[in-house]
Amino acid sequence: MHAADAQDCHVLVIGSGGAGVRAAIEAAAYGETILVTKTIAGKGGCTPMAEGGYNAVLREADSCGIHFEDTMKGGAWLNDPALVQALVTEAPKRIDDLIHWGAVFDFTDTDEVAQRPFGGQRFPRTCYAGDRTGHEMMTTLMEQLDSAEVTKLQEVTVIDLLKDGDHVNGALVLDERGHLVTLTADSTILATGGGTRVYDISTNSSSGTGDGYAIGFRAGAELIDMEMVQFHPTGAVYPYDARGRLVTEAVRGEGGILKNNLGERFMTQYDPERMELSTRDVVARAIATEIAQGRGTPHGGVWLDVTHLPRAQIESRLPVMLEQFLKFGVDIREQPMEVAPTAHHIMGGLRITTECRTTLPSLFACGEVSGGVHGANRLGGNALAETQVFGKRAGEFAGNAKKRTKKVDAAQVNDHQQLLRRYLAGSESPAQVRKSLQLAMWQGVNIFRKDSELRHARTIIEQLSQASLRAQTAQNLAECCIVRNMCDTASLICRSALLRLESRGAHMRVDVQQKWDAQHSPFSHTYISRKREGIESAGGSI
């Protein structure tokens, strides 16, 4: 390794979605900050794809207390209450930041930030910019990042965290050409987003490969509730190669209704009170049930219909949906959409404090890669808020850390160079391993789960993890490292799903009879690290 292949900074931020960029903007005030991302900053992650909105209490008639209760109830009381408190209290402040920086949220006729109803909330508190809310936020954040003193390393892939004893000292990365580089930092922030790309059908962008869960786990951090995977009820089913593409909850928020192939508005059978705006876990199970029982559409979904809404409302509030479906031959002003559940969000993740500290010293986490904010089911609109609230917190507390002298562990670097050499001499196509993994997860660790299928999936994941991945050239090394991360993330989800012997929120165990409802569950978080795994009792004891 050459001297040029090493850089040092105060705060290293890994990931360039909403949480990572917000963290970097904050951290820059405290010292030299590097943001490293495997995509072009601002284009990766799921924030720019997030359509529906950002939950914040902005009106007199609403309150943080109600937002707190909605979030806890939606999360089947598995959420960490302190994290939820931070979320609901600071979401309004963080949207103020965005507006100050120029975000163009939709306004009401009385010049206030407009809000719309989203599932599982008793007040319409979801702020939005049409159905491109995340894109609007990302554009705003990128402008501020460009004004901040942050070094961006783009299209560079983090492969593991650097350790010195228990301390995290930065990261090992592959540059565009596949050269190994070390980045050392006093504090390191994981803001790598989610990982539902481990499923065959997913809403996530190409970057949603679970890198942060995997590298955090390998570095020794503890993760919680990794079995809690949100299947978004409405993903596109056609064209086949674009299956899983998100159809925003805003479609239902604006008044869209769900029907099966008999024309029945089937949510009356599942949640007659909240109907289409029930929580995502309930709606996803309802749709999956309708399809499984033979009441699905030609492409294997159910109908989602907005044709009864005024055309102008569809055009102004759902322009991205309109444009996307038109490209695929469906005019949603005149024809219903076909939708089915799609893997969307991982509620679990690295265990964090309200200061975004993980269980490893000097390692922070924020955004989807962290766990505990959303419990067993996330409310639509809470993820964008989470990126800002905890992104800011991570940047601040990581920035506050003292400067340290860091040592790079030569043995660790050497191990990784050997790993890369093995990939260059490997034999199996990473693309094929990835596809096998995605199918195994879709079949075995889906909405409805049972012990035998989870165990079968675990066996397949273990086999795939042993594959001798092949990098055709040095530029293909990153792909091998990412497939390795996907295998590790899938394993964490599957093993955690085996640990939770109850149905709760998004985790539905069809083979377990239980006498309690979520609020009276004897269980709390599942936890998993290299040292231990298990499930906590409700009182917090293990």
């Binding site: 507006i99 402008e143 086949y240 190669d241």
Partner: protein
């Protein structure tokens, strides 16, 4: 599943080998997009193929490539057998991956004022149409002005107007936008046509910024002269010879039974600089059964003012022109100037239909002219092809009289006030146009816009002619062969 073959651009600067097009055949599902074919090639045939993508749903702007020559988002464009996939016309890093960062870094950031000034709904509604940009840089890859000037590019200008509209922004954007080349844009609309979000950068950003610049007294002196002329004479060019309107009657009756009646909006250039061409057009219309009403009170359409941001007199011009044709109860107004046609169609709200002469002639059909023994190439005027979506009709007419050899549709450099305001840029773009013309080996260049015809004539040795002039030559040749005396008068009754 179905088999699809793509020809894909492969290039690795590190290898030292030249670029090449490689055919790949893969199986994909019904409805697959270009991106899914690239995935299949990468996963099944060649893992070394580099391409960029991220969201897969048209929202991140990572995957723009050229599909059969035209920029498109790979994730949204439906795959067809036989497509050729090239990188965007930007510096190539490897295969289909281009370097986006230098241009992304030039897009300005909002500098917040110390205290928050809340925007109003009206501010938000004004900014929103400029906010959909996903920074795919398709627009940058096709902008002609960027090739020959320091013009910062369409999306950076879009952002300047977005900032100029925002009360939260602390910095003065107008001097910056001028520094960045605000007056270099030819308003050719190439950026709009390739934009996956259909952001109207020329109309909603460039012209609006020029208007803000005008309010601050920053309009180029040459453009101000044109505005003065329009204000004083109703025309954007000075009278130097008898005009078209002085030479024709109020109505020109066709030979034989009329097929249709149109009002003729002649425009300043054909009226005063190229009256002979307009007279040729009248001959062709006469011969093809089109009755033409020519109101003499018509004035400049306002295009030279709108394109340069000088809006104060435009409403007066619009009212005069609309009233002129409405008073005569004309339901179809015909233009032959691409710029006037685009302005009447896009900047006016007219109580009558507006048609380009090529639309009129192809709609009602023309008498076949004699074929002339020459090869022609056709220059698509920006304001006809992109401004009005007219591409096929001129070719349909041209092919009836001469052999047509195609060339790339690029801006000649005369539009948007560039010929008068930035003559060096206009000359540089004209020279590029001239070079493309030369490559065709055509005997004659045909176009359908007085600005293009006038400008291109200075950058090629070939004769440059209007479509109607060539058609008329075809008719004269036909008459000569048949021994018919040519009719001299074009004067109406």
């Amino acid at each position: 599943m179905r088999a699809i073959t793509f020809n894909v651009f492969r290039f690795d600067p590190a290898s030292g080998a030249p670029s090449r097009l490689v055919p790949y055949t893969v199986n994909v599902n019904e409805g697959a997009r270009v991106l899914h074919v690239l995935h299949a090639i990468h996963d099944e045939l060649d893992p070394t193929l580099s391409y960029r993508y991220c969201c897969g749903s048209g929202q991140c702007g990572s995957c723009a490539v050229r599909v059969n020559g035209e920029p498109a988002l790979a994730c949204m464009e439906e795959a067809q057998d036989g497509m050729t996939i090239l990188p965007l016309n930007l510096p190539v890093k490897k295969d289909l991956v281009v370097d986006l960062l230098p241009k992304l870094e030039q897009i300005a950031s909002l500098q917040p004022k110390e205290a928050l000034v809340m925007p109003t709904k009206a501010d938000i509604d004004a900014i929103k149409p400029l906010r959909d940009c996903i920074e795919c840089l398709s627009c940058v890859s096709v902008c002609p002005a960027m090739d020959v000037t320091k013009f910062i590019g369409p999306t950076a200008m879009r952002q300047e107007q977005r900032l100029a509209l925002d009360p939260r922004n602390a910095s003065d954007r107008i001097p910056v936008a001028i520094e960045e080349g605000l007056f270099f844009c030819t308003t050719c609309q190439a950026c709009l046509k390739v934009c996956p979000k259909k952001i109207e950068t020329p109309g909603k950003a460039i012209e609006k910024l020029r208007s803000l610049a005008n309010q601050r007294g920053f309009t180029l002196p040459r453009h101000q002269e044109v505005a003065t002329l329009v204000r004083e004479t109703g025309r954007s060019v000075p009278r130097s010879e008898p005009t078209f309107l002085e030479q024709v009657g109020d109505v020109v009756e066709p030979i034989g039974t009329p097929k249709a009646t149109v009002g003729f909006f002649v425009g300043c250039m054909y009226n005063m600089r190229l009256p002979k061409t307009a007279l040729d057009a009248i001959e062709v219309l006469k011969r093809n059964g089109i009755r033409v009403i020519i109101p003499k009170e018509q004035v400049c359409c306002g295009s030279p003012l709108i394109r340069t941001g000088q809006l104060s007199f435009v409403d007066t011009l619009k009212k005069r022109n609309i009233d002129t044709f409405r008073f005569r109860k004309i339901d179809t107004v015909m233009t032959m100037c691409a710029g006037c046609g685009s302005t009447l169609k896009n900047d006016y709200k007219t109580p009558f239909a507006v048609m380009d002469i090529s639309e009129v002639l192809t709609k009602y059909g023309i008498e076949p002219p004699a074929r002339l023994p020459v090869t022609a190439t056709y220059h698509d005027p920006c304001h006809l092809m992109r401004g009005q979506g007219i591409k096929d009709q001129p070719r349909e007419l041209i092919r009836q009289v001469v052999d047509l050899v195609e060339m790339p549709s690029i801006c000649c450099g005369s539009g948007g006030g560039v010929r008068s305001g930035n003559p060096d840029e206009a000359a540089a773009l004209g020279a590029r146009r001239g070079a493309e013309i030369k490559k065709t080996n055509a005997d004659v260049v045909i176009s359908s816009c007085p600005f293009c015809e006038f400008h291109i004539a200075g950058h090629t040795e070939k004769p440059v002619k209007n479509i109607t002039t060539v058609l008329l030559e075809g008719y004269k040749e036909k008459d000569r062969k048949a021994g018919v005396e040519p009719e001299r008068s074009v004067k109406g009754k």
